[in-house]
Amino acid sequence: MGSVEVTGLTKIFPPDVLVLDNLDITINDGEFFSLLGPSGCGKTTLLRTIAGLESASAGQINIGDRTVTHLSPGKRNVAMVFQDYALYPHMTVRDNIAYPLKVQRVAKAERFSRAESAAESLSLGKLLERRPSQLSGGQQQRAALARAMACRPDVFLLDEPLSNLDARLRLEARGFLKELQSEIGVTTVFVTHDQSEALALSDRMAVLSAGKIMQIGTPREFFHAPSNVFVAEFIGMTPINIIPASISDSTLHFGGMSVQLAEVDLNKLHGGRELVVGIRPEYLHAIDPLSASSNIEGTVRLIENLGTHHMVSIDVDQKVVRGLVPDGHEPSLHESIRFVPTLDRLMIFDSQTGEALIHGLSGSVIQDR
């Protein structure tokens, strides 16, 4: 049983650096859970604390129905794959994979048969006699995974295992990792700084910043309903547009365009707070210049080719706004272009606290011409 339950976990590095600040996370049995955040946010420390390599300053960690907060790493029945894989250079792949079993005093014959079947399932069968230095990066990564698999742990802890691979291989390894995890169904905690990895792999994920949890949820929730501006800016292949907004009567104004707000949304925005609108470039479309719709207009300053789309950056009131234009329809540089957002993908944040107020408007764009 491999659920992981972290309650009130605090970690202070002496003398007084607060790395983890009173964290509560529940990771369900069999779940692929990612810890995502910029470097220095505490995600690796959290993983190492779950593994037992760092001691908790306060709080509790449960794995399954055992409390492991003060157990040594070896007694927690977790397996960890390190960023550099930590394959022992003086041992063959076979001995590396079998090493945890040797430590656990598994009989030699069974030890090697388990190591071999783990290696076989990760297609390392022919490389068992090799030394780690004779393996490619991808093979090393799989050897490290095989070693973790062979111990049959309750929980897999993966510390950026993909970051040492080159870009092409990383995509392959990512798919492979996802398949493997759903096949063996082991609870997996995966640390990464790459939001696309987290979105692609996770059942659920958490974003950390400065030792605090910003949000916990599914990848879809993160993409469409970020809880604040920080998360909104951190998630997504393209940088989200954050545009200052204001309300007069029941109309929302931002970037030169106006939206008639529905009653439900207006109620959420009461109190005359300062607002910003968040809109992903994916949901900002170019419209016909002759259209009567109000819009965000600007001159094109940059066009980036993303393959199927081009990301077009325009200047609006000295700020950059980015939108996606399908391949073949891209404007030319310095031309004027008009964007309109998909309203039900538009988010509104409190500009002071950064907190999200609305995910998806139900109003209508004002036709002003």
């Binding site: 037992g52 007694k75 930590a86």
Partner: protein, 287 residues
């Protein structure tokens, strides 16, 4: 052929002649340098087999009598054994004390670690230097360790240990902590972690230190000369100094034969380590 092409050919010819001369000069300089360094080596390998060796290099008058004479000398072979006791003992203590110290200095973070390392290195060059000779002699005398192997070994160890710790610490620094951490996550206790993971990985470093310390002790003359009073305990480096006739004449036959016997263990030590470890290091693996 036009005049121009003739001229070009002439220039090319001159250039190739100059390059050729440069080459000759270069080879000549290299060869004379090599000769300069090789001559003593040649003497080392010919003089022991010469019936009447001198300090000149000459075609030997082949014989093995020099070796018989050396073996008959009461101190010669015994001193080689003494050298082995001193060098072996020192290497043992240097490794047993140095490896754990280096490991801790590399892995533990504590206040004043860098200062400690700096002082360590500073002292290693002073402790066995001639400046410390008199105090060392007195300390050994007061401790009753004068003219004993253990006293001499301890003083030699004291001289080599700081630099050994420093080198081993640097070596241990290159080994990723994740090696030990992963072993711990898999459930290894400290002893298993050190035996299965750390020791094998730093073994080449230990071998380098062992050979270095061995050679250092083997060739050390001054310390054993001062600390070991009885001739029967003197190591080879000191005994070599005693091959004189009563008249004060150097016995070159014995010195020559002894020199080659004295050289062989060091050569073997280098060859062994080079064969076994190739002075190649396992570091971490990059992807």
């Amino acid at each position: 052929m036009t005049q121009a092409t003739v001229k070009i050919q002439k220039v090319l010819k001159e250039r190739s002649v100059r390059a050729y001369l440069n080459r000759v000069l270069f080879v000549f300089i290299i060869v004379s340098l090599i000769t300069f360094f090789v001559l003593p080596m040649l003497w080392l390998f010919t003089a022991p087999f010469d019936a009447s060796p001198s300090l000149h290099l000459e075609m030997p008058d082949w014989t093995l009598n020099n070796f018989r004479e050396m073996v008959e000398n009461p101190y010669a072979l015994r001193s080689i054994g003494n050298s082995f006791i001193l060098a072996g003992g020192t290497v043992l203590i240097v490794l047993i004390a140095g490896a754990p110290a280096a490991y801790v200095l590399s892995r533990a973070r504590f206040r004043g670690r860098d200062t400690a390392l700096y002082i360590l290195l500073l002292f290693s060059s002073i402790v066995t230097g001639s400046a410390a000779m008199v105090p060392l002699f007195f300390i050994t005398l007061q401790l009753g360790l004068i003219d004993s192997y253990i006293g001499t070994i301890l003083v030699l160890t004291g001289g080599l240990l700081p630099a050994s710790i420093f080198i081993l610490k640097d070596f241990t620094d290159t080994i990723p902590r994740s090696f030990e951490e992963s072993a711990r996550v898999f459930g290894a206790n400290s002893f298993q972690m050190l035996r299965d993971v750390v020791a094998p990985v730093i073994r080449p470093g230990l071998a380098v230190i062992a050979v270095w310390a061995f050679v250092n002790v083997w060739s050390n003359f001054l310390l054993p000369f001062i600390l070991l009073r009885s001739p029967s305990k003197s190591p080879a480096a000191v005994v070599m100094y005693s091959f004189y006739t009563d008249g004060g004449q150097a016995i070159i036959r014995v010195i020559a034969a002894f020199s080659i016997v004295y050289t062989i263990p060091v050569l073997l030590a280098y060859l062994f380590v080079n064969r076994r470890y190739g002075f190649r290091f396992y570091g971490g693996i990059k992807g």
